[in-house]
Symmetry: C2
Subunit: 589 residues, 2 copies
Amino acid sequence: MEDYHKPDQQTLQALKDTANRLRISSIKATTAAGSGHPTSCCSAAEIMSVLFFHTMKYKVQDPRNASNDRFVLSKRQAFTDVATGSLGQGLGAACGMAYTGKFFDRASYRVYCLLGDGELSEGSVWEAMAFAGFYKLDNLVAIFDVNRLGQSDPAPLQHHVEIYQKRCEAFGWHAIIVDGHSVEELCKAFGQAKHQPTAIIAKTFKGKGISGVEDKESWHGKPLPKNMAEQVILEIDEKIQNKKKLSPALPEEDAPVVNIRNIKMPSPPSYKVGEKWATRKAYGVALAKLGHANDRVIALDGDTKNSTFSELFKKDHPSRYIECYIAEQNMVSIAVGCATRDRTVAFASTFATFFTRAFDQIRMAAISESNINLCGSHCGVSIGEDGPSQMGLEDLSMFRAVPNATVFYPGDAVATEKAVEIAANTKGICFIRTSRPENPVIYNNNEDFHIGQAKVVLKSKDDQVTVIGAGVTLHEALSAAEQLRKEKIFIRVIDPFTIKPLDKKTILENARATKGRIITVEDHYHEGGIGEAVCAAVVGEPGITVNRLAVSHVPRSGKSAELLKMFGIDKDAIVQAVKVAVSKSRNAE
Amino acid sequence: MEDYHKPDQQTLQALKDTANRLRISSIKATTAAGSGHPTSCCSAAEIMSVLFFHTMKYKVQDPRNASNDRFVLSKRQAFTDVATGSLGQGLGAACGMAYTGKFFDRASYRVYCLLGDGELSEGSVWEAMAFAGFYKLDNLVAIFDVNRLGQSDPAPLQHHVEIYQKRCEAFGWHAIIVDGHSVEELCKAFGQAKHQPTAIIAKTFKGKGISGVEDKESWHGKPLPKNMAEQVILEIDEKIQNKKKLSPALPEEDAPVVNIRNIKMPSPPSYKVGEKWATRKAYGVALAKLGHANDRVIALDGDTKNSTFSELFKKDHPSRYIECYIAEQNMVSIAVGCATRDRTVAFASTFATFFTRAFDQIRMAAISESNINLCGSHCGVSIGEDGPSQMGLEDLSMFRAVPNATVFYPGDAVATEKAVEIAANTKGICFIRTSRPENPVIYNNNEDFHIGQAKVVLKSKDDQVTVIGAGVTLHEALSAAEQLRKEKIFIRVIDPFTIKPLDKKTILENARATKGRIITVEDHYHEGGIGEAVCAAVVGEPGITVNRLAVSHVPRSGKSAELLKMFGIDKDAIVQAVKVAVSKSRNAE
């Protein structure tokens, strides 16, 4: 039992008292509110008491202090650093905090995560278990509150704690089984330091201490009726002796002071107009550059770094790259954990469509008001041969539906570099959508970009239609304009830069200047994409029409150009749509 | 080695020949296409040869025969029953097939699933591992092709096959380590029958048989250059002896004939107009009823059956309910597997927002042209106290972006029962969005419902605004109409029934009859919801205006009515919006 000092009897009794006080307040609060989870709180009462009044080191007056030990409550409740409530996400965030503490802060704070047994069915938990085992996060302690009962039924493994132990060990953890209602066993278990992550598998009873409810089914998430609560509170109160007051130990204040505000690129972009660059590659170049501006910029990827080009960041800053392997849910949770308490500026990348794997984590990150940056490469049919499973065609819809998210869709390498710099300094979830094909640089290196500010890329007084394209379709629109010009048909071309927020003002002004005609063209499904965003922005404006070119059904594999043509979002399709728009109103005249 | 008969030397040689022929064709095909994964194919060549020409029982001429053994290729390729390519999803589908074979078909066919080692980092794999272990799916064999190399780096466990074995055993599997290039060891391993699922952990080399490429990094997903391919093909060809032709064993044809076409409710709904029912409860009632109409209707849930009311189905049909525990990704994959080859009509339910956990699985199900029905309860802020993590506010956006999906949003108990019946007979992904609050029944039991056909719930010749509501907001709209009537302001109220497809015709006709004024009100975020769908449908139509009432930011916990008011989607907000619309144009006149 290295470095374990058994607490004296008074302390143990005081920890028991604290546990029972927690029981009482959880019963009072939930009965008063007429909603809540008193039975789950009671199963964890001793665990919480020992953690907060014996094991953890923190400043009560300064709960967010960078040097404090961290605590993540993954069971159905919300806690300060990350919101939980969608089960199975807490441990991933805890892993991000522990990785940050061990490898970036190199500080002595530890991270504790309390999980329920029901949520151990979530694969995301095992992604995190594998991650912690692989990186030997010895500053991480997971506590499994095995109270046997789920919401609608017993959890699959019930009280077979030895199976949980086998699973933890197979994933590289040190696993200890304890009686979760024995403050003594808990103190002892928490006192064991190891060179690998530690799992405390606590056998507990749901509703422990509530006579008639303890270990009974169908009490999940139900407060006690008032009279019953009063009776129970009396019973529990009798056990409290109040002989000693406890206060937590103070942390070593060894977490470095960091500043992640106002991060500026060391130099402007250095591209030449006309040069061909894939925006996915420009992302890697930009992120590597940004890493030189601030040493708290980190990158994460899920075994796609040679496709997303986050490998360029790894090349320059190997110690600040986190390989998350093929586990996208966990990658997002790790980023959320790394970003807590403003310790790092995290950029996580994978194929745009594989972020659908982590939609729930992204949704919860927004609820947590987390500041993370996500880059999705390989959007749309333009990726070509790899086929529909690899094509991001719903990512704009997904990220637009995330509250306070900023959705960047840069049109060239310069815009991509600006997007990376802006994202690093923007609160909330930032998503950057990058493409596989190489397209010419169209912006000068000194071009100024802002969130919610579209660029009018092509303009003449004779323009008859406003075409809105982004990424590859912006370039298709420019090619279409060139061809149409030969036939004396002129179009205006707009690059929205950010899809959310969308620059309604610029779009409307230019649409009005082109007889109200708008054509949107996007490498994405119709639903929730650029076209719908534009429709919602301009609907009801007199004389405005919108024709939406987008991918209308599940694609197939093929050459990039073939697919753009097949799905009617290439140069020819735009030319065609423009001619129809123009002729229509000619006939109308 | 019970029931294992060692194949003769000629057979073994023929299996080796077949493996090498597979190598050659994979190299030829990918070099010709200039794209593909020849190295991954080569690591699995012997596995495929033994499976298809020694172990599996199937009719070559009738690959989709119900009695055939199933094969799921979870590594980055597509196969007949389910599309893969988004890693880590194959095993869940295989579990659904195996569960169906064992418990519903009670047939002797077996299910084989080939996984790559890279995808074993996906939590969804471990959800499926736990599921198979828990239900003792002894007709399921998973083959781990441990070729050590991922896309951008070695996989985390490299060739430590013993760790994979520990993990499999901890999850309740029988696990055997084999040399994945030894047809003899493979034949032997596949010959071992067990009373639990079996994992064959095959140590292989990526690019096996390709000199200069075998076990080398940075060859992932790259075809060989033409001249190199020719050389390699010659080398491999020399090893082929061609002494014996192999053909697979035939299956026992013991899978029952099933008919899941044209499933009709045994009786019409039996609700009374005005009675208060939550649509989530009506879902359970309807599903239980449908289960009496056809014994291939099954239900799945993720430990929320007492909230989604799928427990009512379980009560009537316990043997056809699958408890998937808290593992939503796997639940969707199980449903996909159960639905393959038209063996079952699967309805999977959880809270609407928790389907975000399975967005990637749902996306892939659409690519697989899978026919599954998903019911999401507890949509919107109207669930009340449980807080934002439990509120479905992006589910419409998510499901609308799924190709060929049908999105039902029933307004009362009768509409819900109809939605369930229609979904059971509709191809593709069907999503039914249900609500927690109880609202009055508004439709007669004989009311006829159709996909893409909206209902005009309230109508008079004096209507000045068309209000489109769904679920709880449909009832708020009706209350608003009642209040406005007292002030001699009349509104038309429309219930879309399906949000995708949307009944543009009915919406436009009624909007035109109410001075072009549309107000949409939804318990969902603005993006990708009902309002945007309506905007996209009516944009450009002269004189049509749309005012969208929806949830504009992350909500909090509170009473249902409080939250509807706080987010401006309740009766009062609608009354207010109607008055503004009316007065506006008055001023204009």
